[in-house]
């Protein structure tokens, strides 16, 4: 009898302890990103953004009273490695999977996360990622299918160009953007005067710029990574190309302005997410980031940061930590910056996991990014 009571008490204590551990245990997140290889800048910015946001969230008491905890794994910018690392991350049963940033790596890992029923918040921008009916995949930035039409419209309505030369980098990012905008140009009746593919890491753009000159377009659309954007801007200036130079996010980034100097003046384009946005919360984010890491992040830093606040807002809406219900609750959710400052700008997630928020048209004037127009959120 006595032993029975003792056993009962023991059991009760153990259950209580387990329950307590359950509610107080940290929420596990897993990040798989390009920490080495060709995408190291992308992955490192993304990772630092995540770490910064988690530090903030935990300093304020965590999510529903539980701390966030993240593990980082390196995909080496290789889809095969990304798959292995995501598999490993999923075996650890995380609450939400973060990353990768390369669209190819997202494509190979998304089915794994979907099979495990775990939401994946990633950085890839290729149009097709969210069009395959995957119910667990979420973007942190505009996909090319939503940003490129805005650029094409701008070239048509404001620049009034009838023929455009396209320069793109031959990886999934560049090729994806080029394919979408070419379709948009066809719809608007804009002629593609030259279609130039370049290599990631290319140093010399003299030949490409001569081809642009020979094609004599009304405008040039440049879709390269930051370093290459700076190099082609310098070469365009050297060879005296004076038509409008238009890009999307990368061409008017802070890093390009620093690298290209004078040559960047006059470049313009659409930016979905920029650390130079005239939004107080983004300015504050940039200051915090620079203070912690001693450099100015690109949009990938912002994306990683936002991913954590997406998790926080969704979880608080649900009122519980439920990995299975997470994706359902994030679909159709609007997160307002007024109630969740970490989201920086109001954002809505649709049924495909695509994001909707305001964007900017930017021009470089005297080495500074100047916002020419704020494109409102669609709904």
């Amino acid at each position: 009898m006595k032993t029975g009571i003792l056993a009962g008490i023991l059991l009760a204590t153990m259950t209580a302890a387990a329950a307590l551990a359950q509610s107080g245990a940290p929420i596990k997140l897993a990040n798989v990103a390009e920490l080495s290889g060709g995408g190291a800048t992308v992955g490192t910015n993304w990772k630092n953004g995540i770490d910064l946001a988690i530090e903030e969230v935990n300093a304020k008491g965590g999510v529903l009273g539980r701390k966030l905890e993240v593990t980082h794994a390196d995909s080496q910018s290789n889809p095969g490695v990304a798959r292995a690392q995501v598999q490993k991350a999923l075996d650890g049963e995380p609450y939400v999977l973060l990353g990768p940033g390369y669209s190819g790596s997202v494509k190979v890992t998304a089915p794994l996360a979907a099979e495990a029923g775990i939401a994946q918040i990633m950085g890839g921008e290729a149009a097709e990622l969210t069009q395959g009916g995957n119910k667990f995949l979420f973007r942190t930035s505009f996909g090319q299918q939503s940003s490129m039409p805005k650029v094409a419209k701008y070239i048509n309505d404001e620049v009034k160009a009838k023929s455009v030369a396209i320069v793109w980098v031959n990886n999934d990012f560049g090729r994806g953007g080029r394919d979408v905008i070419t379709k948009e140009f066809a719809k608007l009746g804009i002629k593609v005067a030259a279609d130039l593919s370049t290599e990631a890491g290319q140093a010399d753009f003299a030949a490409d710029v001569s081809k642009i000159k020979a094609a004599a377009p009304d405008a040039v659309f440049i879709y390269l990574n930051e370093e290459e954007s700076a190099r082609i801007l310098k070469e365009l200036k050297r060879q005296g190309v004076s038509v409008p130079l238009i890009g999307e996010t990368t061409l008017i980034g802070q890093k390009v302005v620093e690298l290209a100097g004078d040559a960047a003046n006059g470049a313009r384009g659409h930016v979905g997410l920029t650390t130079d946005a005239p939004v107080d919360l983004i300015k504050a984010f940039r200051e915090k980031f620079v203070k912690k890491y001693n450099y100015v992040p690109d949009h990938n830093g912002l994306k990683g940061y936002l991913a954590i606040y997406m998790i926080k807002a969704t979880t608080e809406k649900m009122g519980k930590v439920d990995p299975k219900a997470f994706a359902d609750n994030l679909h159709g959710l609007t997160i307002k910056a007024a109630s969740e400052p970490g989201i920086l700008m109001d954002a809505t997630f649709d049924k495909n996991g695509d994001i909707d928020r305001q964007g900017f048209l930017v021009e470089i004037v005297d080495g500074k990014q100047v916002i020419k127009q704020v494109l409102p959120k669609l709904n």
Binding site: P79, R83, Q87, V108, D172
Partner: protein, 333 residues
């Protein structure tokens, strides 16, 4: 002594094989993926070991052949053909291309040959990336199906691991037979002294081409397994770094040793994963240092160390025997 040795070897072999069959049942999906990757890379490295280790031809194109195999398998299986057909085409294709690539090997040697194969590697990468009508370019090919073998689907990680392991076993047996056949002896003769081999009546020209072609075909076999393993391929994994990785596997494991590629692939596939586990951020650096130290200590790879140790012991034993025999022969003073 030698009998004892042989028993030990057989016992070790049985234990390893049993472990490879039984242990995965208790592994999670990640562990299974890594082990499957090890089996696939071992096959590719065995091909290179044949070309480099046995026939002595330096090749930086093995990664390209894995790519050709992977693309062949991916294109055929996503169009509804069975994987076994993809395997056949991949082997034939890689054999033919390997044979053609072997021609420069008749003219140039060592690092010059490395340059020629390096150029081929880059060429293959550019074809994978730029010929989008065929390979879908940088977007890659997704949803590659896994095969159904004898009515048994291999979609889950464990059955597919056994497909990889089974293929590795078949390839190992075939290679084992090959290097013990007159062909294998001819390959070694080619590596050790081509002029002498020629004077002994070995058609060095034909065997050089053959070494290249067979090695490349094994690369194709590995590729045919790689595609359904990852179920998505794009050009990036098949760039020069894969060829270099495979070269590393062969050299680190012990080039010219039958079990070299097994160990080498273990070091190249499993060691980084293990170091990653222990030391988060610095794993690539530590891995590099480990490989450098190993090659300084033993340029002939891991099996070279064991070989050296065994030779030493044998020499000692032999000298001891000689000493005994000598003392017996010497006339009493």
């Amino acid at each position: 002594m030698s009998l004892f040795n042989r028993y030990w070897r057989v016992a070790l072999g049985v234990v390893v094989i049993a472990a490879l069959i039984i242990a995965p049942m208790y592994l999670n999906r990640y562990g299974l993926f890594i082990l499957s990757q090890w089996a696939v890379m071992t096959i590719a490295a065995m091909g290179l070991n044949l070309t480099l280790g046995y026939a002595g031809q330096v090749s930086l194109a093995q990664g390209a052949f894995v790519g050709i195999g992977a693309y062949t398998a991916a294109l055929m299986t996503t169009n509804g053909l069975p994987l076994i057909a993809g395997l056949g085409v991949a082997i034939l294709l890689c054999f033919a291309i390997g044979w053609i690539l072997g021609y420069p090997a008749l003219r140039v040697q060592h690092h010059y040959l490395a340059f020629v194969t390096l150029a081929f590697s880059t060429l293959a990468f550019l074809v994978f990336r730029n010929e989008s009508w065929l390979t879908n370019g940088i977007y890659g090919i997704s949803n590659i199906p896994r095969p159904t073998i004898l009515g048994y689907p291999t979609n889950r990680p464990l059955p597919f691991y056994y497909v990889c392991l089974g293929s590795l076993a078949l390839v190992s047996l075939a290679t084992w037979w090959l290097i013990r056949s007159p062909w294998g002896r001819a390959f070694v003769a080619l590596r050790e002294n081509p002029v002498r081999a020629l004077s002994l009546g070995i058609d060095t020209r034909r065997y050089t081409l053959m070494a290249f072609a067979i090695g490349s075909a094994l690369g194709g076999v590995a590729g045919t397994l790689y595609a359904p393993l990852t179920q998505y391929i794009d050009p990036v994994p098949f760039n020069l770094s894969l060829s270099l990785d495979l070269l590393l596997m062969v050299i680190v494991g012990g080039s010219g040793f039958f079990f070299g590629p097994f160990l080498g692939a273990m070091i190249a596939v499993l060691l980084p994963e293990w170091i990653r586990e222990v030391t988060q951020g610095y794993y690539l650096m530590l891995y590099a240092v480990a490989v450098i130290l190993l090659l300084i200590y033993s340029p002939t790879g891991i099996l070279g160390i064991i070989d050296r140790y065994l030779t030493e012991r044998r020499t000692k034993a032999a000298s001891a025997l000689r000493a005994v025999a000598k003392s017996g022969l010497e006339p009493a003073p």
